[in-house]
Symmetry: C2
């Protein structure tokens, strides 16, 4: 399946195939609620806990669907990606489960913890300078030398179909959702979420939420073409990238809209979820929660699903511990 | 129901009554698993998430059972406790839900966050000096002035029956448990857990785990009478107290045994649960996990329930952030 020979809109069948393909490997993550957050928002909030997914993020779904879609001759040559984030670990684990090799190009600035995690799943890590040029050069070189298949982190139909399975599960676990919120970076999760609602619960609206400091998706929908994300500075480090042509096409056609939130709202939402729900979410996962808590969205009276995208946080560097004199609230 | 006119061993009926009494108010908390921790321990570990309970700890169960057991004339005069921990919040919320007043005697050293939380539930907070004498004097004065009912945090049949409901749920949610682990401080949770297994799953053993730095329960069982906990210094601040006569009687008769764990093992277990399970547990809740990870118990091949007792942690003061130069593992 390539991105050229089909329209951008994946079918219900594409999504069901992905769900069946990854079922033996992915966790069916629980849906949690919070009476405090319900009271505060006036809504009924249903949190889909992809922070409990394998490798700690929804990315495992798409990577697994992609790797398990490969033909035998592709599997012989392995998979390749460049990523310093959750996609790297997701692809490494998916490759191990499928018995193929993964080579991940990671910038020298990637944290030692993340490099170790990727290696821990058995992948080979190739270092590159933290520039677009060097990253692409190294990736090209690895692809040439291995003959492997590049697995893009979001602009890939197999990845989008895999990410859709989180919302598919949520729609099975909870009936009558009025709205689902998902964060948007490259748009793989938001595209999948939107397609899941479109095919399996057409009355459920989907809204994407992104940091105001990395509002390229918002601007792209305003302008009607992909706007680059130029040197964004946000704590939500999973949401730095721009949309791709596939994710842009899906989101601009089917997503209700994109709202943006401030950095302060993201940190406050993250801390509130930690304190009140006793679960660990990463800043990117706090972005949709921030839209509600900071009033960018008013979901009062509605049944709202929120995809908590991941929980991979460096526990030695929490966003609130950078201000050590601050007292807790 | 007083502690004098019955033997220490609560009946199955006592426990079922407690379960029915608190059902409309308490969360039926989920049971989570971790493939990482299963692999590491060689066991099948089932985590009962009382960190997701209302007020963030199992204590809500006992307090609610106690408050909702009171007679109308007792409810008119309210409830009283001295506590700087989870029992304070639990009793405050239970009293609010029952429409009665709570007065909590808290030491001046209690954190402002905790005092605010107790007041937030509508309870009156009376300050005392952080000495046993002043605390008891103030509590006596409040009892005299209000005519209220003292609700002891653990040495009370109603409290023990309420705490038992966590294990009762766990035994319903998971079949065939070989073993259940619970932390032990005053022994309310361990007594309740042991009684639940005794009545509803007699083949399930129960083991209590306590910090080596506060090993009064371990010593009490060795000696055969209650040993005081003298100035214990442990990060597990929910486990500082000694057993009471009721909890000692239940535990010494029915609990398999007590094992102890080091402070280092507690911090490592807490961090491991945060990192791998993406849930927030307090140090006291990490104590049973520490027994497995540090090898004080070898549960290989067994199905083991672990009561994660609570998740109330000051996010500005994490045990690992006291060593800021330490790199993450």
């Amino acid at each position: 399946m390539s991105s050229d020979d089909q329209g951008p809109l994946l079918t219900a069948e594409d999504l069901r195939e992905a769900e069946n393909r990854i079922r033996p490997y992915a966790h069916r993550t629980p849906v949690l609620t919070s009476s405090y957050l319900d009271e505060r928002s006036g809504a009924e909030l249903l949190f889909k806990c992809e922070n409990f997914q394998r490798i700690g993020a929804f990315k495992f779904r798409g990577a697994t669907n992609a790797v398990f879609s490969l033909a035998p001759e592709e599997l012989e040559r392995g998979v390749v990606a460049h990523s310093s984030g959750n996609h790297a670990q997701a692809l490494a684990l998916a490759a191990r489960l499928r018995g193929t090799r993964a080579t991940i190009v990671m910038p020298t600035t990637a944290s030692a913890v993340k490099v170790a995690a990727v290696r821990g799943y058995g992948a080979e890590v190739v270092s590159c300078q933290p520039t677009v040029e060097d990253r692409e050069q190294e990736t090209e070189r690895v692809l040439r030398e291995t003959g492997g298949t590049l697995i893009h982190p979001y602009n890939d139909r197999r990845i989008i179909a895999g990410q859709a399975t989180a919302a598919m599960e949520l729609l099975e676990q909870v009936e009558g959702l009025d709205l689902v919120l998902a964060p948007v970076g490259g748009g793989g999760l938001l595209s999948g979420t939107t397609l899941a609602a479109h095919h399996f619960s057409p009355s459920t609206r989907v809204i994407g939420v992104e940091p105001a400091a990395a509002d390229d998706a918002y601007r792209s929908l305003e302008v009607g073409e992909i706007q680059p994300s130029i040197d964004p500075k946000t704590i939500a480090d999973g949401l730095l990238t721009s949309l791709g042509d596939l994710t842009f096409a899906v989101i601009s056609e089917l997503t209700d809209r994109i709202v943006t939130v401030s950095e302060e709202a993201i940190v406050e939402a993250m801390r509130t979820v930690w304190e009140r729900m006793k679960i660990i979410i990463e800043p990117s996962a706090a972005v949709p929660v921030a839209a509600i808590l900071a009033g960018q969205l008013d979901p009062a009276g509605q049944r709202v699903g929120i995809i908590l995208s991941g929980g991979n946080v460096d526990l030695d560097r929490l966003p609130w511990s950078t201000r050590p004199s601050q007292s807790s609230v």
